[in-house]
């Protein structure tokens, strides 16, 4: 039997706002399959986002959904999780929202290792505002505010998350649709702050400025550059040039923040 996505979609809220060829819908379907696999209860799941194309995702989901201010999803979500640790909290947002204006909240959520899953849909650009360069736009690429080519070096978002203390970091692409739900499933099941970056280039405001003739060409590009971490172990640095590692990039067990705060409460009450 075909998978029933509608069980998790809010009645009457489709069609979505995303452009034809955008990968955000592929990621949303992956997220839905993951939620179903893990068995999260809709009324006990908070999906929190900031501002941007990707941040419109929670509105379509039939859960407790919080569409916050630009860049602030991780901070709002921290408040939700701290106040009600029994809720499952998932964050969704783009590369600009999460690593530029929201960069501070992002790294500190990683550092605290608070039990939430952050799905970053990296489309390499500010799509909703018309294609300005983001911290994920490759050097030299064209954006509406880099007409002569981007002088900025980009972040490696997964490395940033690992460096900041996230205890589960994975990367996939919109092309590898069947892998997305597996990565998100594992991220949700991990206890601690988990980050899943999905490469999901924007066809409308990034692709057309950067010599991708079609969405198919962009998708094929994602397929070509992706190298699973296992396969990469057998490849030379030359072979890996221009490639991007996919799969689970990092995983470790560390004390989780809300559990540590529960101990603070115990200590305070014992001392009372």
């Amino acid at each position: 039997m075909a998978f029933d996505y509608e069980k998790y979609i809010r009645p009457g809220k489709l069609p979505h706002i995303w452009c034809p060829g955008c990968g955000h819908g592929i990621v949303m379907k992956g997220l839905i399959r993951a939620i179903d696999t893990v068995g999260l209860k809709k009324e006990n799941t908070a999906i929190v986002s900031g501002i941007g194309c990707a941040s419109r995702l929670p509105g379509y989901m039939d859960c407790c959904t919080l569409h916050t201010a630009h860049g602030r999803a991780a901070a709002f979500a921290t408040g939700v999780k701290m106040a009600r640790p029994e809720m499952d909290v998932i964050l969704v947002g783009g590369d600009g929202d999460g690593t530029a204006i929201g960069g501070n909240h992002f790294i500190h959520a990683c550092r605290r290792n608070i039990n939430m899953t952050y799905i970053i849909l990296n489309n390499k650009i500010y799509g909703m505002t018309g294609g300005q360069f983001s911290p994920a736009t490759p050097t030299g690429d064209k954006a509406s505010t880099t007409p002569y080519g981007n002088p900025d070096p980009p972040f490696d978002i997964a490395k940033l998350a690992i460096g900041a203390g996230a205890t589960f970091v994975a990367r996939g692409t919109a092309f590898h649709a069947n892998q997305i739900d597996k990565l998100i499933t594992e991220a949700i099941q991990h206890k601690g702050f988990s980050v899943v970056e999905i490469l999901d280039d924007c066809p409308t405001t990034y692709g057309r400025r950067n010599k991708f003739k079609s969405v198919i060409e962009m998708m094929n590009h994602l397929k070509d550059i992706a190298v699973p971490v296992k396969a990469a172990e057998k490849m030379s640095p030359e072979q890996l040039k221009g490639k991007v590692l996919t799969g689970v990039l990092y995983k470790e067990e560390k004390p989780e923040y809300t559990e540590e705060y529960a101990k603070v409460i115990q200590r305070a009450q014992a001392a009372k």
Partner: protein
């Protein structure tokens, strides 16, 4: 049984007032001169099973606060000038999404870093106009340690009752001075809780105006699923750009406070009835003013004090009434004329308004006030 009496600082009293009101969540960021509020909350909240978190910045603290409030907690943050500026975007978010929260803002010299340890009353306009767009504003300005406690309880009551942010803004003098405080017994002060949701989850809408101007707010994690967004929204919480919804929702958000001004406004009139000169003041400045009124009366000057306990909404109608029978108003304040401008604006030219403005980090003393009274013809 004798009541519990303590010798407390204003900031400490704010924290204890919050706990009395049932606050269960605090998010903040260190900033002088409000830090003691956070310190007391970090000590006391876990004892009652509440949560304290020090966030990475002021915006993050305000954001975490709204997230926590949406799960049903009563929430508090504390800050001061520069922090209030940073929090403004999320204060606007709380206004449009109608999420209750209380913000203690201890007023220090500004703008920018200004005078972090010096007193001021220069955030009064920021409390109303700081965040962009039309929105409701409630701001309380207590003048003693006891009053900080009681007004913090009232701030929570107003936030929960009207589903909106409430600011409590002691100036640095009131926040840092120590005074005797008598702790109210449980049940002695009114404590208002969030209105209960009376419909089942499948029928719930977060902005359903069939319940009136202030629809009940359900809690995330309590079985209710709903959408919250900072975009202009419809009854079900989903975004809209339809003119009829946007206009009606904007007006309702402001009306929640405007139509309930009588419940929110609070002031004290001291010897105003037969006064020729009425001082309009709040916070520590009102303490100098009260002293000056007594001294002036002994010298034969019929002075009175109109003390603002609620600053926003401002008691325009009452001041207009008083203006018809006085020779002059005096507005002493630790800023360059914020109360002065508002008073002038609401009394229709019935009396002159003389200002005393100090931004040098020194309090306004009674002598300055008496000298000013003598200028009145």
């Amino acid at each position: 049984m004798a009541k519990k009496v303590a010798f407390l600082q204003g900031n400490e009293a704010a924290a204890h007032g919050a706990l009395y009101a049932g606050c269960k969540f605090f998010a903040g960021y260190p900033i002088t001169p409000s830090t003691e509020v956070a310190e007391v909350m970090s000590l006391e909240l876990p004892k009652v099973g509440g949560k304290f978190i020090q966030m990475e910045d002021e915006i993050g603290a305000m954001s975490a606060l709204i997230g926590a409030s949406l799960t049903g907690s009563k929430v508090l943050t504390s800050t001061s000038g520069p922090g209030l500026s940073l929090k403004q975007e999320i204060i606007g978010y709380a206004c449009i999404t109608e999420v209750p929260c209380v913000i203690v803002n201890v007023m220090r010299g500004g703008p920018s870093t200004g005078m972090p340890t010096g007193p001021s009353q220069s955030d009064l306009m920021c409390a109303k106009w700081g965040t962009h767009g039309d929105h409701p504003a409630i701001c309380l300005t207590p003048a003693s340690v006891q009053e900080i406690f009681e007004e913090t309880v009232r701030a929570f009551n107003l936030a929960e009752k009207y589903r909106t942010p409430v600011m409590i803004m002691p100036d640095e003098i009131v926040a840092h001075m120590r005074e005797r405080i008598v702790f109210p017994e449980p049940g002695e002060l009114e404590v208002v809780d969030r209105a209960p949701v009376t419909v089942p989850p499948e029928k719930y809408k977060p902005y359903d105006t069939s319940f009136g101007d202030i629809p009940p707010l359900a809690a995330f994690g309590s079985g209710y699923k709903f959408h919250v967004t900072g975009l202009n929204k419809m009854a079900d919480g989903f975004p809209t750009t339809k003119a009829e919804y946007v206009q009606a929702e904007e007006e309702r958000q402001v009306r929640k406070v405007e139509a309930n001004k009588a419940d929110i406004m609070k002031w004290e009139e001291y010897k105003v009835d037969d006064a020729d000169i009425v001082i309009v003041a709040c916070g520590s400045t009102s303490r100098s003013a009260r002293y000056a009124v007594d001294v002036a009366r002994k010298q034969g000057i019929k002075a009175g004090l109109f003390r603002l306990i609620t600053f926003w909404p401002f008691p325009e109608d009452r001041l207009l009434e008083i203006s018809k029978k006085v020779k002059a108003f005096i507005t002493p304040e630790m800023n360059l004329g914020m109360t002065h401008g508002i008073v002038k604006g609401c009394i229709e030219g019935n009396a002159p308004v003389l200002g005393i403005f100090r931004v040098d980090g020194e309090p306004i003393n009674p002598e300055q006030l008496i000298d000013k009274m003598k200028e009145v013809k």
